[in-house]
Structure formats: structure tokens, C-alpha cells
């Protein structure tokens, strides 16, 4: 009959179906999402008996002994079977065995090597004159993405909104867009190079083609999903077609439109590599391609990781900005308060003459 203790801890189920996690559990899980793959990577890279399919030859033994595997040399990564074969040959000849350690393939870099490369890739001059530094390649890539995405938004958003608002417009544009959107953007690569020549323009064009057609359809869909009763309400309040579009449809879809743009920006990044490899190679893709040719795989991973980091950071930053931009969804009123504070600091408007204001009609 004892009443439950008020501070008794409720058991929180971590794997309950469709129920939210506690703040603490959620934060921990987010960290784990990165830490678990990282630990797996460390395990594969540093623990000799996990994977390590090759042998890094440290001392090949007497190379004068002839045999099938006599080609072993110091610093080579060879299959275990080759290494064992050479040792059999050496033992048969009465010589000391070759020395080697278990190793991973050259393309599999350890975390510390990639971490070092993340720094050194920025500070190392390119191997050939005229090649770009990593930060220059990075800026080139970002510029291509942003230009392609901006052009796509400049045309895609208005077309999408019109399509979502006017059934006629949607019928006039969407069937054709649907048709084009199934053509993979890269097939226009050669064409774009012919039209725009080498340089940046054909690459921007590929990003544009890759995102624009999807954008129109996505935006049209978002526009259509606006609650139609809001439009009815606005009409009974006297809004005309123009006012419906600018005062109801646009503000009504703004948060969803913003979310769409976040997703589509990620989409634009996926077209980056294709765009950069057509015509004259450029940007991060050119850097990665080049480093791969020099077998600097640490730099390859560094460049790939940078793309991931940029993507993650922009998305998180955009999500954070959204909280301030759309207070009616997030409940974050910081910007609203700032605006009100600014308005209050302006001179107060003169109050109108006092009279009974609540009159309707003329009687």
C-alpha cells in the first residue's frame, strides 16, 4: 500500500516499437553511429589476425636462390601463399627464412594514415606543375555544385510551384519532365562539352540536369500537399488568385520547400563526380583520380572523407537555420523576438482616434 516514490526511476526501454528515445540515449546512439564503423575500421586496420590477407616483406632472404617466388623484394605486399612458397624454397636450399608481417592491401589505409593525410593533403604541393592543391580542387567542386544547384532552383522552384498550383500548368509541363528525368544526366555530358567547351559550364550543366527535373516534380508535389482548406479559407477572406499564390501557397509550403532543397542539395553532390570527369577533369574528382594514379590512397580517403564531412556539416547547418527561420514549426522564437525588439526600438506609431471599432455592416 506504499505510494510509489516520486523520484523512482522509470525503466526506459531502448528498443520499444515506435516510441521516442530519451535525450541521453538519442545522443549516445548518434555518437555510436560514427564510433561503431570507426572501431570496425580500427579493428580491420590494426589487429593483425583480423583480415590482413597479405604479407609485407621486410627481408626477402637470399635472392640468389632460384625458384618460382624469387621475385620477392623488400617492401612488397604479397599473398600469404607466395610468401610461404618462397620460404619453402629458401628452407629447401638451407637458407634462413624471409621475414615479413601480416598486412592489408595498399588501398586499405589505417585511420592514423588517413588522419595524417587529411592534414598533409592540404599542405603538400601537387606533384606536377599546373595541378591543383587540394583546397583549390575543393573550392572548384563547391562552386560547380552551388552554381548548378542555384540555376536549378531558379527555374525549378517557380515551375514546381506553378505546377502544384495550376492543374493546367502541371499537365502542360510534367509529362515531358517525367520523360526527360529518366534520362541519366551523364548522357548529356558529351553534348554539354560540345556546346559549352571545356571549363566549368558543361559541369554546371550536368549538375543542373541532374537536379532540375527532379526538383520540378518534388516541388510540385510539395505544393500540392498544402492543405487545400487553407486556400478555401483565404478565398472566403477575399484573396484573389495572385494573393492565393503569394500569401498562402508560398508561405504555406516554405518549410517543406526548404526540406526539399536540403535533400536535393545532397542529390546535386551525387552528380558531382560524373560532372567533374567529363571534358577536362576538375575539382575533387580530378584530385582523387590523380592521387589514385600515384597510389596515394591515404589522400584518396582524405578527399572522400572531406566530401562526407562537408555534406554532413551543410545539412546540419541548414537544419539549424530552419529552426530559426520557421518558428511556427520549431517553436524557436529567437528571430521573432529579435524582430519585435527592433520594431519596439523604432519610434512608436501614433494611435488612431478612439472609437467603437466593432461594427459590421451599416445598421
Amino acid at each position: 500500500m506504499n505510494p510509489p516514490k516520486p523520484n523512482q526511476k522509470r525503466r526506459v526501454k531502448l528498443w520499444a516499437v515506435r516510441s521516442p528515445l530519451s535525450r541521453k540515449a538519442s545522443t549516445s546512439a548518434t555518437f555510436l553511429a560514427f564510433i561503431l564503423p570507426f572501431l570496425t575500421w580500427c579493428l580491420l586496420a590494426y589487429v593483425p589476425f583480423v583480415w590482413h590477407p597479405l604479407v609485407l616483406v621486410q627481408a626477402p632472404g637470399d635472392s640468389n636462390i632460384p625458384g618460382t617466388y624469387s621475385y620477392l623484394a623488400q617492401g612488397q605486399r604479397v599473398e600469404k601463399s607466395e610468401f610461404d612458397g618462397r620460404n619453402r624454397e629458401l628452407v629447401a636450399a638451407g637458407k634462413p627464412k624471409a621475414v615479413g608481417v601480416a598486412a592489408n592491401p595498399i588501398y586499405f589505409q589505417a585511420p592514423d594514415e588517413v588522419a595524417r593525410a587529411l592534414y598533409t593533403a592540404f599542405t603538400t604541393a601537387p606533384e606536377r606543375d599546373g595541378d591543383l592543391w587540394l583546397h583549390e580542387s575543393l573550392l572548384q567542386s563547391i562552386k560547380v555544385i552551388l552554381l548548378g544547384f542555384l540555376w536549378s532552383a531558379v527555374f525549378g522552384i517557380p515551375l514546381g510551384v506553378l505546377g502544384g498550383t495550376f492543374a493546367m500548368f502541371s499537365r502542360l509541363t510534367e509529362p515531358f519532365i517525367d520523360f526527360v528525368r529518366y534520362m541519366p544526366a551523364p548522357v548529356f555530358g558529351a553534348l554539354a562539352v560540345t556546346i559549352f567547351g571545356l571549363g566549368e559550364e558543361p559541369k554546371v550543366t550536368i549538375i543542373f540536369i541532374g537536379t532540375f527535373f527532379q526538383m520540378v516534380l518534388v516541388v510540385a508535389n510539395t505544393t500540392r500537399s498544402l492543405d487545400v482548406s487553407l486556400l478555401h479559407a483565404a478565398q472566403t477572406l477575399g484573396a484573389g488568385p495572385r494573393q492565393l499564390v503569394f500569401n498562402v501557397v508560398l508561405p504555406g509550403i516554405l518549410p517543406a520547400l526548404y526540406r526539399d532543397m536540403r535533400i536535393l542539395l545532397g542529390w546535386a553532390w551525387t552528380y558531382l563526380v560524373v560532372a567533374e570527369l567529363i571534358g577536362e577533369k576538375s575539382g575533387l574528382s580530378a584530385f582523387i583520380y590523380q592521387q589514385q594514379r600515384y597510389r596515394h590512397f591515404d589522400n584518396v580517403y582524405a578527399a572522400i572523407a572531406i566530401i562526407g564531412v562537408i555534406g554532413l556539416l551543410t545539412d546540419q547547418a541548414l537544419a539549424l537555420v530552419a529552426k530559426y527561420l520557421f518558428p511556427w514549426e520549431s517553436g524557436n522564437l529567437a528571430l521573432v523576438r529579435l524582430g519585435r525588439g527592433l520594431r519596439r526600438s523604432l519610434p512608436a506609431p501614433k494611435p488612431a482616434a478612439a472609437e467603437s471599432l466593432l461594427t459590421i455592416g451599416d445598421e
Binding site: L237, V248, E329, T359
Partner: protein, 296 residues
């Protein structure tokens, strides 16, 4: 206690003198909205469904008129036509003698789903109508606050709709519609989504507002108590096809108060409504026929 005898009620047609006087005065007033021979068909040929048939009645200035009926009687179609959001197949709607061609600011509307603009604050929602007309901002803003005071929400002028309860949202919707100074306020089951307590308090709010503001209201509901409690007259619709069964002049005197819920005139009106609506619901279609319709 036993109730062997059926409760004896006065006839719903017996109107006390003050109600007779009130109604006579009401009929002398100008007609704000005339609904003239309205019919609405959906589909065509064998698929044709008559949603509304020959609906005619007048709404007088400052009258509170309710439309009630069983589900499927076309109440919502009717109010959508009155608002101009849908078109009749035959007949017309006149506001101050002019035919309705589409939605307009002269007919304000309050919907069951609150339909507040979520991106605007409460005050900005109320300002929406006036700003569509290009009313100078300063004066409109002052008025908006006045309307919010009328619905007891002046403290929430800067809140967003998502921060309000259902009843508060609906009060904002009423203020927003009134701020536009419509000739008539159309209310489509406005309190249908609210819980019983909130509903009762909203009814009280609405009666108070009607006392303070010159407003004509056409109110759709399926709640019999609500219809009797609020209305001067009640238009009872029957289902399939939607048609007027009777227009009841409510014999309950004004001002209204919850005490009247148990008065003889209130109960007799309610019983009459029940009779009309139940009768309609049962005889509309025999169950076997409906089964046949559903299962082919």
C-alpha cells in the same frame, strides 16, 4: 420515482409572446442572403445522385439560422455552395440581392478544421482579410486587437496557432472571419471537433459575440442541443435527396442560457428535431437495400 406517464411537453409550435415579437421583428428586417431553388447533382446518367433538391430560404439581418440534418443530407455541400466554393446545378444564391459567383469577402466562413494559417501569428491571421483588401496597416492592426479582445484572446496576439488549444484556434478563426466585416458568417460545424466542455464554452462565447456585434450567422451542425440553444430558426434537411423537411422557429426566448436546456419549449423543439431526423434516417433506405448496395 417512476415515469409511467410520458413527459408532457408544450407544442414546439407554441411561441411565448416575446418570441412572437422577436420573430416578427426579425422578418421585417432586410434579407441578407436569399437561397433560391438550389439543387445540386453529382455524376450523370445512372450514376446521378441528387445531393440537394430545391432548397429555398431567406436569412434576415442579424438572424442566427442553423441547418441541421442527418449525415449525407448535403449540409456541407450546401454551405460550400453558399460560400461560393462549389456551384449549384440549379438555382442561385443572392447576397443583398446580388448573385454569388464565387468565394468572396462578403461571406466569411469558419471551418470545422480550424484552417488558421500556421505561419502567421494570431494577430496576423486576424489581419489577413483586411490586408487582402489593402486596409491601412496601423488601423487594421488596432482593429485586429479589438476583435481578439472580443474573443478573449488579446493575450495571445503574438502566439502561433500551433501553440493554441482547439477552442482557442476556433475563436481566432471567428475573429479572423469577423475582422473582414462579412455580410454573413457561414459556420460549418465549427465546434464539431471540440470536446463537450470546450464546445459548451464556445457556444457561450458565440452567443455573447452575437449580442455585441451586428452579425448574421448561418450555422451548420449535427448537434440538436447546439442548434436549439443558438438559433432563431432551424432548417431541417432530410437525406437522399437533401431537401428541406421543415423550418422550425425556435420557441425559446432570448437571452439564452444553459438553464433553458430543461425548459419545456427547449425540450419540445429538440423532440421535434429528433422525430424529423430519426424518421429520415430510418426511412431513408431499408437496411437490406443498403446491404445490397454495399455487397452488390
Amino acid at each position: 420515482m417512476s415515469h409511467a406517464e410520458p413527459l408532457s411537453l408544450p407544442s414546439y409550435l407554441d411561441q411565448p409572446p416575446e418570441v412572437v415579437a422577436h420573430l416578427a421583428e426579425l422578418y421585417r428586417r432586410r434579407t441578407v442572403m436569399r437561397i433560391d431553388g438550389l439543387s445540386k447533382l453529382f455524376g450523370s446518367g445512372a450514376e446521378e445522385v441528387v445531393a440537394l433538391r430545391d432548397i429555398s430560404f431567406d436569412v434576415h439581418h442579424r438572424e442566427f439560422i442553423s441547418v441541421i440534418g442527418p449525415s449525407g443530407c448535403g449540409k456541407s455541400t450546401l454551405i460550400r455552395i453558399l460560400a461560393g466554393l462549389d456551384y449549384p446545378t440549379a438555382g442561385q444564391v443572392l447576397v443583398d440581392g446580388l448573385p454569388v459567383e464565387g468565394p468572396g469577402a462578403d461571406r466569411g466562413m469558419v471551418f470545422q478544421g480550424y484552417t488558421l494559417f500556421p505561419w502567421l501569428t494570431v494577430k496576423q491571421n486576424v489581419l489577413f482579410g483586411p490586408s487582402m483588401k489593402g486596409t491601412p496597416k496601423l488601423r487594421a492592426e488596432e482593429k485586429a486587437l479589438e476583435w481578439l479582445r472580443l474573443v478573449n484572446l488579446s493575450d495571445f496576439a503574438d502566439a502561433y496557432p500551433s501553440q493554441l488549444s482547439g477552442g482557442m484556434k476556433q475563436r481566432v478563426a471567428i475573429a479572423r472571419a469577423l475582422a473582414n466585416q462579412p455580410r454573413i458568417l457561414l459556420m460549418d460545424e465549427p465546434f464539431g471537433a471540440l470536446d463537450a466542455q470546450t464546445r459548451a464554452s464556445m457556444q457561450a462565447h458565440l452567443l455573447r459575440i452575437c449580442g455585441q456585434v451586428n452579425i448574421t450567422i448561418l450555422f451548420i451542425t449535427h448537434d440538436l442541443d447546439e442548434a436549439v440553444y443558438l438559433s432563431d430558426r432551424i432548417v431541417v434537411l432530410g437525406a437522399r435527396p437533401g431537401r428541406i423537411m421543415e423550418i422550425i422557429e425556435v420557441p425559446v426566448s432570448r437571452p439564452r442560457s444553459p438553464n433553458q436546456f430543461l425548459s419545456g419549449s427547449f425540450l419540445s423543439t429538440k423532440r421535434r428535431l429528433e422525430e424529423l431526423i430519426h424518421h429520415v434516417e430510418i426511412s431513408a433506405k431499408p437496411e437490406s437495400e443498403m446491404m445490397a448496395e454495399v455487397y452488390g
